[in-house]
Amino acid sequence: MTGDGAPARERPLVLAADDDEDILGLVAFRLERSGYDVLQARDGEEAFELAVREQPDLAVLDVMMPKLDGFEVTRRLRAEAATSRMPIILLTARAQDADVQQGFDAGADDYIRKPFSPNELRARVQAILGRR
């Protein structure tokens, strides 16, 4: 199911990181209802630590977070052997072309702009995890 060394699980584990409680709650709710377990992080440092420790199957990251921003977390996860293949979706209001470029350069797999449709987020998560 997950060929990169992450433990096999009953329900896939997703890491959601955002400093805005409203978004975090919504994303967690939607993903849990769609059959995933969700870890929550409220800043970039926490997100990185959780990702390395718990090895989720996918990470959904906000960009504008305190301590480490989403781009930086992505870069660091790509640099770590254990998490270098972890799919990462950036979910953010930073929507300039340069930001999207920076996101993909940092190693993200997908970039969703806010305002967003939770349905679409779920669909993209499913698409990525379904591939594995």
């Binding site: 504008m64 305190p66 300039q96 340069a98």
Partner: protein, 482 residues
Amino acid sequence: MNVVHNLALAYSIVAFVYFAILNSVYLLLTFLAWRDMGAEVRARRYLALDEMFRSPLTPGVSVLVPAFNEEPVIVESVRSLLVLRYPRHEVVVVNDGSGDGTLAALQRAFDLAPVRLALRDLIPTARVRATYVSRAHHGLVVVDKENGGRSDALNAGINAARQPYVCVIDADSLLEPDALLKVSKPILDDPNVLAATGGTIRIANGSRVDHGRVVEARVPTSRLATIQVLEYFRAFLVARVGWSKLNALGIISGAFGLFHRSLVETVGGYWTDTVGEDFELTIRLHRHLRDRGEPYRIAFISDPVCWTEAPEQLATLARQRRRWQRGLWEGIRRHLRMVGNPRYGVIGLVAMPYFLLFEFLSPLFALGGLVVTVVLWLLGSLPTAYFVSFLLVSIVLGLVLTTAALALEEFSYQRYRRWREIARLLAYAVLENLGYHQLHDVWRTLGYVDILRGKTAWGTQQRRGFSTPDEAPAVPGEKTPS
């Protein structure tokens, strides 16, 4: 003897009138600030900052940070600028030939790589030695140049800037995450009329700082810094709001100001022969725009906040205030023809004379007048009634205005959470009249001496660095009795 006595009496009366006018002006400004605050608080409901952040149409801003010997603070400051909530911005740090490890600190913290940046040469500056970009952080540029002073460094920053707007910041400052959005919004909503905006400066001393953000605002433990908190409240939350409403804002602080880059280039950039470059540029912009004859505004926005480190040592603070006096004089002298000149509207008729009489010349009236009045009263030449009313008009009225400024902050921003902090501020509102104001006037008088002697240098700054959650706010051994 009689002549001297009469002159002294006249002097005292002039000082009396001076205080009466000054505090009346302040009363007017306070009234305007209160009204504006009401409107501003209500306007927050429909401010639409989120829209500005996510809009692809929002123009970019180049944040300029001139740095001279800022090693203890520069990295934290730049970090706070890189994470600003703004859709498109770059940070241009100009190392003005620092003698300490400023550049090295930047190189270590941000993984700088030398890049031969193409620089515009619209404004002449001292020689640029090298330019760098950060490999780790998108949008950080460092210009390393030979020392030329703050104005020169800013001009080099303008030459390197790539965005249509420039935001000028001090190297020891921390901008709040939304500050750039808030200070830019009025200009971006009306770019043909708004020429420049400035934001509020607040004192960070003693506050909890984490990763470049002031997490918890606290009143400083240092007495000197606490008094400065009150000064900055009066200056920013009251005075500048009021002047801005009258469209007579004479100064956009160099510690937090936003300008159209093209406009600053058109007027020739910052003037390098002054230590009050922010004041002089603002006046020059007013002059240029009024000469051009089109309607314009230069506005102060009280909501966006820039946190700065205030001097806690008497010697450093004295140097700063003496420097401000010199800067004031240099700017006024350069534009003397504007003073009292109806051609320059409310700037010429109100703002410039105010700066001249009530800021630059104030020690003459305030300190001199107070001393003379006290002496005359002690000698019995003045009726006690007169003496008491002198004190009322100068000190007590000032106290009322300070309390009003505190109340204003409380109603609009409420940054200080604890009771005892407000109590502390109130106590110092009284205490500052018993020694600090007088000392301040002494420094400013020394500023006259500097001017007469033709002093030009900036003097040294002493940087303590921001406190972090792990450190106690006051570093042992550095506290100076004030």
